[in-house]
Amino acid sequence: MSLLLDLALVAWLLALALYVTSARGDRDAIVAFIAFGLLLGLGWTRIAALDVALTEAAIGGGVTGMLLLRAEAHLRKRKPGGPSKGVVGKAVTAVACVMVTVGLMLVVLAFPSPAPTLAPAAAAALPATGLGNPVTAVLLAYRALDTLLEKVVLILALIGVWSLAPDGLWGGAPRLRPALVPEPLAYLAQMLPPFGVLIAVYMCWVGADAPGGTFQAGTVLAAMWLLVMLAGLSPEPETRGKALRLTLIAGPALFVAIGFLGFAMAGGFLSYPESIAKPLIVGIEAALTLSIAATLGLLVAGPAQMASGR
C-alpha cells in the first residue's frame, strides 16, 4: 500500500510539472506550481525528511507562489505570445531533456550500496550540542558557516532587489496593498495571523528537538506579515527605516557575534561551549527567525514603489 501511495504521489508530481510546461497562461502554470510545491511537501514526508517537508510547503508552496503570482499580476498587460521555439526545436530539446533524465536516473540507480552516510557521526556529536534534532544540529553547529553565509545571501538578495528601485523612490516603501481590498481578505488577515504567530513560535521552540526550526518559523511569520500588509491592516515599511534594518541584521549579527565569542568561550569561531550550547543555539534561532521573516517578507514585497515620506 505504501509503495502504491508513493507511486501515485510521484505520478501526480510529474503530471503537475508537465502541466507547467504545457499550460497556456503563466498564471495557470504558477497555480500548478503552487499545488506542486504543496504536494512536494507531502512527498518529502514520505522519505522521512520532515524538516525539509515543512520548508518546502512553506517556501515552495507558499511564499514563492505569492512572489510569482504578484509578478504575474504586474506583467499582465504585456503583449501576448512571445517568440517561442518551433516544433522541431521543441522536439530536439525534449529528446535532449529525456536523455538527461535517463542519464540521471541511471546515476541514481548506480549509487553505491550500502550508502555512505554521516548519520552515525551526526548522532555521535549530537550530545555536544545539547540538541535533539540532528538537522538543526547540522544547520547551526556542524555546518554553521553554511547557514551563516546563506543568511548573508538572503540579505544580499534583498539589497539587490532594493537597488532596482528608481533613484527617486529608493529608501521608500514597497507597495503590496491593492486599491481595493476584498472583504474576505481583510477577515482572513485578522483571523489567520494569531494562528500563524502561534505556529511560528511553536516551530522555532520545538525545532531544537523535533522537526521544525528557524527557517520554517521565519517563513510562517513572513507569510503572516505579508497577509497583514496585503489587507492594508499594517502599512508597508519604508526600506530606509532604522528599526526595519536592525530587525534584518539582528539574527545574522547575533550569529556572527556568538561565532566570534567562540574564540573566547570555546575552541574558536562558531564553536559553542558544551554547557551552554543549547541556549546559545536557541537564542540564535530566535533572532534568526525574526530576521528571516523580515527578509523573506521584504523580498516578496519587492523594491520601493512609493517615495520616502521624509
Binding site: L3, L14, I47, V63, T64, L75, A94, L158
Partner: protein, 115 residues
C-alpha cells in the same frame, strides 16, 4: 529491477531526475521569463529530491535519513527562493522600463509607448 524492489528513496530519486529534465525543458523552450523562473524552480526541486533520495538512503543511527543532506536541502531551498526573488524583481523592472518580458526579442522590440 522489479517494481517491488523500489524503495521510496530510489523512487523519489528517479522522480527527482525526471523533474530535473522537465524543469530543464521549461527553461529552454519557453521564452517568457516568468515561466522560465518557474522552470528553474522545478529543476531545483528535482535536484533537491535527488539529494533527498541520498538522505533517505543514508538512514541510520536511529534517524530516518542522513541529516546532513537534509540540512543542505533546506539551505538550498532558501537560496533558491532568494534567487527567484531577485530574478522576479529584475524582470518587473525590465518590464516597467521596456514592456518586455523576454530576452530573445531584445533587438527587434521597440520600447513600449510611454504614454
Amino acid at each position: 529491477m522489479s517494481v517491488a524492489a523500489l524503495g521510496p528513496a530510489t523512487l523519489f530519486g528517479l522522480c527527482g531526475a525526471a523533474l530535473a529534465g522537465i524543469g530543464l525543458f521549461v527553461v529552454i523552450t519557453h521564452s517568457g521569463l516568468l515561466r522560465r523562473i518557474v522552470g528553474f524552480n522545478i529543476l531545483g526541486a528535482g535536484i533537491f529530491l535527488v539529494f533527498g533520495a541520498v538522505a533517505r538512503r543514508g538512514a541510520g543511527a536511529g534517524f530516518g535519513g542522513d541529516p546532513v543532506p537534509q540540512a543542505l536541502v533546506i539551505t538550498g531551498i532558501v537560496v533558491a527562493f532568494s534567487a527567484t526573488a531577485l530574478a522576479v524583481a529584475l524582470l518587473q523592472r525590465l518590464f516597467d522600463l521596456t514592456g518586455r518580458e523576454t530576452l530573445e526579442a531584445a533587438q527587434e522590440h521597440s520600447p513600449r509607448s510611454e504614454a
